[in-house]
């Protein structure tokens, strides 16, 4: 079973202090660390699990700058066989739609049974590359996939919906799934695997191979901003009894009790 996994290198912003840069359209990234997008790491692990079960190859693809090769190498160390970087520097502004078109032009030349992508990128949170790519390739897709059971030409998948609901789909292959976090437990790369991956060649593709004149951009960031404060926090001081009394008064004022 040949699987393609689309991955993205993203800044780690969960614990970091995020500030907007001078352009007003991006964040300051020079002090942030970068890693594979969280749900992409689950997508990669799911591919490795299927490869261990059925054999085949895994190809990881990312549209990114030179540093993205570090992320691709870790993917190689975790079980991918081939890695392709599409040079982001060749394509100026890139949005989700343009990324999908770039990926389509690379993937349509590859053979595959399945394509995996993360269900959402933690930096722009568009959630659109996977499903748009499936439409461009004209293959079926399922998003937010939390379980996969594959046979030769079909896959049973469960999708995680709101309010604890699950959706069960029977899909013919080839297909694209966007993978939800929690579907598996991503492994760490061992030192031996890192050593091998550090020496592997990464295929790099740019504007020579992909005609950028045909690529369309359908969104543009106008502005990034910190939302204005809408509510003030009031800290109640005094002894626990005094604070509780003040709190009860506030509840009464607001008609909550």
């Amino acid at each position: 079973m040949d699987i393609i996994v689309c991955i993205k290198r993203v800044p780690q912003t969960a614990e970091a202090e995020v500030t907007i840069d001078s352009s007003g359209k991006d964040i300051e990234k020079d002090r942030l660390s970068f890693d594979i997008n969280e749900s992409d790491s689950y997508a990669l692990e799911e591919a490795v699990i299927l490869k261990e079960k059925f054999g085949g190859t895994i190809t990881v693809i990312s549209v990114g700058y030179q540093d993205t090769e570090d992320t691709l190498r870790i993917a190689l160390a975790k079980g991918a066989d081939n890695a392709i970087r599409v040079k982001a520097e060749d394509f100026e502004h890139i949005d989700g739609y343009k990324t999908s078109q770039i990926l389509k032009s690379v993937i349509e030349k590859e053979s595959y049974d399945l394509i995996f992508a993360g269900c959402i990128a933690t930096d722009d949170a568009y959630s659109q590359v996977g499903v748009t790519l499936a439409e461009l390739l004209n293959i079926p897709h399922a998003s937010l996939v939390i379980n996969i059971d594959t046979s030769e030409n079909r896959a049973d998948v469960n999708r995680e919906l709101e309010e604890g609901l699950m959706g069960h789909l029977d899909i013919s292959l080839p297909a694209l799934f966007t993978i939800q976090t929690g579907i598996n437990e991503p492994r760490y790369a061992s030192l031996i695997a890192i050593r091998r991956a550090a020496k592997k060649e990464i295929k790099v593709i740019g504007q020579e191979e992909i005609n950028k004149d045909n690529l369309l951009l359908n969104t543009e960031i106008e502005e990034l901003f910190i939302p204005p404060k809408t509510k003030e926090v009031e800290i109640l001081t005094g002894s626990p009894a005094e604070s509780a009394s003040k709190l009860a008064e506030i509840f009464k004022e607001k008609g909550l009790i």
């Binding site: 760490y188 050593r195 550090a198």
Partner: protein, 370 residues
Amino acid sequence: MSLIKFNNEQKLIQGEIRKFATTELEPVADDIDKKGVFPKDIINNLFELGFMSLIIPEKYGGVDMDLTSLCIAVEELSKISASVGTIVAVNNCFAAYPLMKFGNENIKELYLTKLADGEIVGFICEPEIDLLPEQNVLNDQNNSFVFSGERDFVLNGETASFFILQISNQEVNKFYIINKDSKELSFTIPKMLGLNAAGIKSVKFNELLLRKESCLNSEVPGGKILQEVRDFSNICLSSISLGLAQASLDAATKYSKERKQFSRLICEFEMIQEMLSDIKIKIETARLLVYDAASKFDNNQNYSLSAAIARVYCGNMAVSSALNAIQIYGGYGYIKDYPVERYFRDSKVLQLLEASPRTIKIDIAREVLR
């Protein structure tokens, strides 16, 4: 361009071990210190990933990576838990390195393979101890020795399956390999200030027979073996102190940007800023020293002096960084709900572990005066 240039492989190792440390180790780091628990699951994971046998040649089941890679891994682990950083450092520096450097082929086959397979090795060394007749009996019986006595601060003592032990008095100075299951050994846990999860133990020997075959290398004097192990380990132990100092800086910086006094964030006060910059200057200096010494070792250059300088500087620097961090936290720095008191306790032990700064300074002075 930075003087520290990690290659592709080293950058990947740094990213992956950093992720492991923050994801797997951080949630338990405080707890294992408070309870004094050896983190078996974490160490088993590190074995599987290859970190516990990082420097061991592939033919014995190791990964065969360089000292720079080991220092990178140990620094990252020590930012989260110096105890875990120490366990990894000890298995590589005090166990694998002397076996690789001085063991014959039989010893390498037997013990390095065990080490790479997941067995932890303890290291016992107190060469300057007085051998009192009633405590230590050292008898020659057909080139074997019977040894009784006590040793404190056995590194990796809690879970080690075998130990490397230095025996020295006026007539003998050799290293031996002993199995933990020998009934002549009994262990107690010392109550220490720091490194509480590192599994450091005290051991008593009751007429332990040390056979000739278990001698690490009868040709090389124990003093030379000890010096080489110390030189090598000085670099790696420095990287533990470096990681600890970075942890102190990170914690103090974060706290100073949250804590308000007199209606201002304390990071706006210049005396706080001075303390933060003092820590930062020392960390950047220390990092250059550590990776310069490691690079010299990896490139077969003379590294002993650089290793000694790095060790003394980093050991002292981590203690002063932790003290500054406690100062920035104010009274909260002194209570166990916040991490900086742990960084201080651990950094103080690291300053002294295996060789005190004064001992190492004597080596440095000897080189200066040569």
